[in-house]
Amino acid sequence: MNRFDYIRPVSVSEAIAAAAVPGSAYLAAGTNLLDLMKVGTTRPERVIDITRLPGLDRIEWLPDGGVRIAAMVRNSDLAYDERFARTFPAVAEALLSGASAQLRNAATVGGNLMQRTRCAYFHDLASACNRRVAGSGCDARDGENRLHAVLGWSEHCIATHPSDFCVPLVALDALVEVEGPHGAREIPVDLLHALPGATPERETALAPGELVVALRLPAEAADFSGNARYLKLRERTSYAFAVVSAAAALELEGKLIRKARVALGGVAAKPWRAREAEVALTGMPASAEAFAKAAEIALADALPSGDNAFKIELARRIVVRALSLAFEGTPEVMPALPASPFSTTAGAIHVA
């Protein structure tokens, strides 16, 4: 880890002022930042500790039924917040399927949103990586890319975004509140993470020095509380990143789908909202055929970026399953193995 200046501002404005110096990085819990500093992927000259900023650790319910979660709220505190988990069960489930209990106790909402790709070449300084060093090339493109992107990738970068949390967030139209040197603004989570295009080094919509201060879920997102699930495929039962994952949320009238939300994780450089699939589901009776069709549509533009064609089929199937599970209804209690296929309640597999 390189030497750096450690700065602990006492207010958001002080933090933003401190971050105006190039080479600065915000430090939340550090579970991603310190890891990247240890391998040398990032070498900030100035580390700005934002964990003590006042007012950034609150969950606030808004008068309209939405919720505002300040950026320093810890992942586990949010997931186990009873009202939050009841209102946005897929988000709680996604949070609890990520990392480990220890990491979730530390990790912050802002840090989770802003965590960087797990692409092994991004972490390997001897490899070419456009995201780490603009214009240097992409060694993943012809390398070990079994788990890389199948949607929205470019010749310049085929990385995926690793967050579970973000997947239901994009499905539910969450947005982030940002403050920066040029004032405050809001960005939908769906627009927060950038697709690589020709500039994979631009990972998010944040300008240098901008700070995520809060995350908001709109009141309408609560309409799905009875039929919302997150499902995550892993190479071991727990403590692993997603091979692919999906969030599905339905608003039902009997069997009729009034509204649908679908998003995929582990398939692209951003959490992938499948809007066309949602349109296809809207107004349809829930059925295996409707779910399969939605899955087809969601993956219509998918292309293997390497040795990963299987992920396309897998993503289709997980969309179908997530929709089936959502249709079955949000479980009364959080499953013992959150988001695992092995937490499935009886019968879910047969629905589709």
């Binding site: 602990r8 550090g30 964990t51 186990y80 209990a101 220890q102 530390a106 727990s238």
Partner: protein, 165 residues
């Protein structure tokens, strides 16, 4: 640049002068404060060997910058037993053979203590397994670990009930 932080470690208030901001909590404990009970297995949040409690919550000390923890209370494996009296989790680990080489054990035990405090497992072994999955044991002592936690948790629930009565 030197930095002074205060920590309460295993109940003892300490002022620590850091000549280097890069020091993680894990390296601080092991290399500078003579508390090597907490172990390093990966240094990257991938194994759980370094689990300690900070303000009562279990976290990975290898991915925590010591400077950032100024003012917190840290509990390590060295601070768990009260004198010669083992913490119920420690005793249960011995009884259920919840370890072999013992290297992951301080982390497993601190994680188990954290898990019981969190109160989300409710005596369900499947929940314990899931919530202990952030602690890798290469020796494969998982079955004993799960049984030990079930027992310790039961004991602590009963103790709480007695206290309440």
């Amino acid at each position: 640049m030197s930095l002074s932080i205060s920590l309460t470690i295993n109940g003892q208030a300490r002022t620590v002068v850091l000549d280097d901001p890069r020091v993680t909590l894990l390296d601080l404990l092991r290399e500078r404060l003579d508390l090597p009970g907490t172990k390093k297995g990966c240094d990257r949040g991938q194994c759980g060997a370094c689990t300690v409690l900070v303000d009562g919550r279990r976290i990975n000390s290898c991915l925590s910058l010591a400077a950032s923890l100024d003012g917190t209370e840290v509990t390590t494996i060295e601070g768990l037993a009260e004198g010669e009296a083992l913490h119920p989790v420690q005793a249960a680990f011995i009884a259920h053979d919840g370890f072999q080489c013992g290297y992951c054990t301080p982390g497993q035990i601190m994680s188990a203590v954290g898990l019981i405090k969190e109160g989300h497992a409710n005596g369900d072994p499947e929940r314990i397994r899931e919530l202990m999955s952030g602690n890798i044991c290469r020796c494969g002592a998982y079955q004993g670990i799960t049984e030990a936690i079930l027992e310790a948790q039961k004991a602590s629930t009963e103790a709480n009930r007695r206290d309440a009565a």
